[in-house]
């Protein structure tokens, strides 16, 4: 019996697997192998994943939506940062720094963020010349600190308080003050009012 059956079944020489009768397409034959088990399991697992995912997020809504995720992320960040960002340093009590290290830090910030509008020597392009004695918003350390902190967005100077700590604003303000009277070539014409330091 068994032998008879075997004769009827055509086998692939190299692997010994059963060939399917009548399947011959331009010489291409097909084997009668079943689906690999692990492959089938992989398929089932992904389907289970999909069902669980859809139920969790779209039916039961026990998973966070992207808006909820965002709200949580912001709440955590705000909590952590409240303590760190609150600093007593502001435009009313800021002092000019003159030590070399602070000025170097200030220059670094300036080159990275401010140079695009005020140019590398402070000569001004989109933003005004920062090397002369004329200031739109005043030339004291407090004035400069304040305009950098709050900006004047409608004229193209954004507020930097969300990118720079008060300490850093102090450093870059001090650096800007150190540019006074440097007279770089091609400087922009004066804007604003003449500022004379008191005393």
């Amino acid at each position: 019996m068994k032998d008879e059956k075997d004769i009827n079944i055509e086998k692939d020489e190299l692997t010994g697997d059963e060939l399917i009768k009548g399947h011959d397409y331009d010489g291409i034959k097909e084997l009668n192998n079943s689906l690999p088990k692990w492959w089938l399991w992989l398929f089932y697992i992904t389907i289970i994943f999909a069902v669980v995912y859809l139920i969790r997020y779209e039916v039961m809504k026990t998973g966070d939506s992207q808006e909820e995720e965002y709200a949580k992320e912001m709440a955590i960040a705000n909590m952590k940062l409240k303590s760190k960002r609150s600093s007593s340093l502001d435009e009313t009590n800021v002092t000019r720094l003159t030590d070399k290290k602070s000025l170097e830090e200030g220059k670094k910030i300036y080159d990275k963020l401010c140079l695009v509008c005020h140019l590398s020597k402070g000569e001004g392009l989109v933003g005004p010349n920062l090397t002369d004695e004329y200031w739109i918003h005043g030339g004291s350390i407090g004035d400069i600190f304040k305009i950098i902190k709050v900006g004047n967005p409608s004229k193209g100077m954004i507020s930097w308080k969300d990118q720079l700590t008060p300490k850093k604003i102090q450093q870059v303000s001090s650096f800007i003050m150190s540019l006074q009277g440097t007279n770089p070539p091609n400087a922009k014409a004066k804007e604003g009012k003449l500022y004379k330091p008191e005393n």
Partner: protein, 709 residues
């Protein structure tokens, strides 16, 4: 049984083969230029036709539709005739198909370079070309079905199942995504707006990958791999299961291109889950390919054709695992908008499509020319150069992508962005862009070797244009299922039913995802302060589209702290209701522009900054890789079509007051004067009739509406 004599048409196969090689070379060269421009922006030559924004669509279209497209037709025309034991249904249709397709490619290249584009990725071509494509695609389908119907064989083989699915699905995708209303011969606006447009576009875009780059090539694999290895297919059962699972599931996965965007959550969830379910069906194809080689691995070591095929199938397996992983929202949050995506598609394009094509060419050309390949050794060198090229291309880009995405997301302990200046995160990964160029060059050198090798082979070969053969006529059997015949076996001798069933399989997913966004209002909550663009802004937007700014800039802020800190409030679905087409972009080579115009957000720039930046980006952003657009400063804005544009928008449901088209240009001029005055105050002398004015108007409008409550 009567034996019939007939001839296979090899000439048409040869034509398509040569076209494949030719367009492959062109497509890759253009890609190389684009890669070079990302390191040296001056290679845009300050010339509109050669800027990145126009070059990139030429590259993607050339590789997908010209290289792979001709590759598909080459393989289908060869294998279909042999699997059907019949000559192609009509020689005339064959040659209309061939020349029509080449004509479309040439038209595409020219119009894209001229800036005629819809901006929808891989569907950039304007409406007259869309119509041409439809006609030629129908010619192809007609010819294919004609051949299948008059076949001498009883059943259709799995390769043909894939060809059929390809034909119907591409037809449906192309037509649905191309609905647009013409403004002029080379300009149209998408029928869909905003979120809907994005959904339809990526339903199309994803399935262009699925049904143009994948299913037809799986069909080719099912023919050429067992032929070249002379081995039987590993499992017929696997063929059936993975074929139907693949085409049914694939069509749902499009929304994974839009994760964390303003697309409704439930559609995103479908995109995620169906992408994950795609792993097994895709791997079914890889397994059936690789396991077919059992017992023939010693041949693989010797035969370059098989080497190419094996690496192709392996690359397919890799990218179809990577794709679903990138569809998990947490992974996507990191990889989206970065070069990770670029690396991913090149594993697919260079590995799967490129190597499969090369393998087929090395097998096919000697066969049709009745001669051995000129040099096996050279083919081996090509193989190694290509493999190395893919690795040197992809690995640095993966590395760069991870570096950049981490930089985008890094905060200082004080809670500020560590790298507030976007450009810093670009210059950081420029070395990776250098490496990518090198990888591309290696791959290209391999292709040049192949061309030389094939030219040498062809020169001494003896081409048989009409290959004589014979086969028995098809047995006449009952159309009904016979005793003991499985239903699928029955289906395999009913090609029309087969086509209809595959159409049903692919329509389900599309309909369930797309139709509800029309029917359910709550899917896209409206925002009262969102208003249509002014005529000047609309014109500026069209310039943004023409120059391909969206190839480098996204307009979609995702709800992450790292993005709202960098760009401002995250994007809402209701903000895009008048955006025909949507311009969310898919890659951030430059920063997101969704809130560029909002004065209180950090990216705001005055008009004069934009003017200087567009004239020469490096003058205000040293080391920027953005190309210069000096012609926008010189060109006069064409306002002759403002009226028509407004009217088309009205037709599409954008609420301009009635008759507004007639006075639109007056408003346009007033707004232009204001901007010119602003520029003057900033020290820039120009007149208000220039293109740059319109572009600035558009940029300054971006994202502002929801702040005007």
């Amino acid at each position: 049984m009567q034996i019939e004599k007939f001839y296979y048409d090899n000439k048409i196969v040869k034509y398509f083969a040569y076209a494949t090689i030719f367009w492959g070379l062109i497509g890759m060269l253009v890609g190389l230029l684009a890669a070079l421009q990302l390191v040296w922006p001056s290679l845009s030559f300050d010339f509109a036709m050669t800027t990145f924004g126009r070059i990139r669509p030429v590259h993607t279209n050339a590789v997908i539709f010209a290289f792979v497209g001709n590759g598909i037709f080459m393989g289908v025309y060869y294998s279909l005739q042999r699997l059907s034991k019949a000559r192609m249904y009509s020689d005339l249709l064959s040659y209309i198909h061939f020349w029509g397709w080449q004509f479309i490619i040439v038209l595409a290249a020219i119009t894209l370079l001229l800036g005629y584009t819809t901006s929808k990725e891989y569907a950039e071509l304007e409406w007259p070309i869309d119509i041409l494509i439809t006609i030629i695609w129908v010619v192809f389908g007609w010819n294919m079905f004609g051949t299948i119907i008059k076949r001498r064989t009883g059943h259709i083989y799995v390769a043909i199942w894939f060809y059929i699915a390809t034909f119907v699905t591409v037809a449906v995708l192309h037509i649905v995504n191309s609905f647009e209303v013409p403004v002029s011969f080379w300009k149209s606006y998408s029928l869909y707006a905003g979120v809907q447009d994005a959904l339809v576009q990526w339903w199309y875009g994803h399935n262009a990958v699925a049904f143009f780059l994948t299913t037809p090539y799986l069909g080719l694999m099912y023919y050429f791999l067992p032929k070249a290895a002379n081995r039987p297919i590993y499992s017929y059962k696997l063929s059936i299961i993975h074929f139907w699972a693949l085409i049914f599931i694939y069509i749902w996965a499009g929304p994974h291109h839009l994760l964390y965007t303003a697309l409704p959550d439930w559609i995103q969830a479908l995109g995620v889950t169906f992408s994950v379910m795609l792993i097994a069906p895709s791997w079914g194809g890889m397994l059936n390919g690789l396991l077919t080689l059992r017992g023939a691995w010693d041949k693989v070591r010797e035969e370059p054709v098989l080497k190419f095929l094996v690496v192709a199938v392996t690359a397919y397996g890799l990218s179809t695992f990577e794709g679903p992983m990138m569809s998990l929202k947490s992974v996507n949050a990191l990889t989206h908008f970065t070069d990770w995506t670029i690396a991913h598609v090149h594993i697919g394009a260079l590995g799967w499509n490129g190597f499969l094509t090369f393998g087929i060419l090395y097998w096919l050309i000697p066969k049709m020319f009745n001669i051995k390949l000129h040099s096996k050794k050279l083919a081996n060198v090509h193989f190694w150069l290509g493999t190395l090229g893919i690795l040197v291309y992809a690995i640095p880009l993966y590395w760069g992508a991870v570096t950049q995405t981490l930089m985008w997301k890094e905060f200082t302990p004080e809670g500020f962005l560590k790298y507030p200046n976007f450009l810093e995160t670009v210059t950081q990964i420029i070395p990776m862009y250098h490496a990518r160029i090198f990888g591309g060059v290696l791959y290209l050198v391999g292709v040049v070797l192949m061309i030389y090798n094939i030219a040498k082979t062809v020169k001494v070969g003896n081409f048989v244009a009409d290959e004589a053969t014979e086969a028995a006529a098809r047995e006449v059997v009952s159309p009904k299922r016979m005793k003991g015949e499985g239903w699928h076996r029955w289906l395999e001798r009913k090609p029309i039913q087969f086509m209809l069933l595959s159409m049903v399989a692919i329509l389900i997913g599309g309909i369930i995802e797309i139709v509800p966004t029309y029917l359910i209002k709550s899917n896209i909550p409206t925002i009262a302060s969102v208003k249509p663009y002014t005529p000047l802004e609309l014109q500026g937007r069209d310039i943004y589209i023409r120059e391909g700014c969206y190839t480098c800039h996204s307009q979609m802020i995702r709800p992450f702290r790292s993005e709202t800190e960098r760009y401002g409030e995250y994007s809402k679905a209701g903000e895009f209701v008048y955006d025909h087409p949507f311009l969310w972009g898919s890659k951030r080579t430059g920063p997101d522009l969704a809130r560029e115009g909002v004065q209180t957000e950090r990216n705001y720039k005055p008009d004069s900054w934009h003017y200087n930046h567009m004239l020469k980006p490096q003058s205000v952003s040293p080391n920027s890789i953005m190309p210069a657009y000096p012609w926008l400063i010189k060109n006069k804005l064409d306002i002759s079509r403002t009226k028509k544009k407004i009217e088309v928008m009205q037709y599409l449901g954008v609420p301009y007051p009635e008759g507004y088209g007639d006075i639109a240009n007056e408003d346009l001029k007033k707004q232009a004067e204001k901007i010119a005055a602003n520029l003057k105050a900033g020290g820039i002398e120009t007149t208000s009739d220039k293109e740059i004015i319109a572009l600035i108007a558009y940029l300054q409008r971006l994202g502002t509406d929801i702040y005007n409550k």
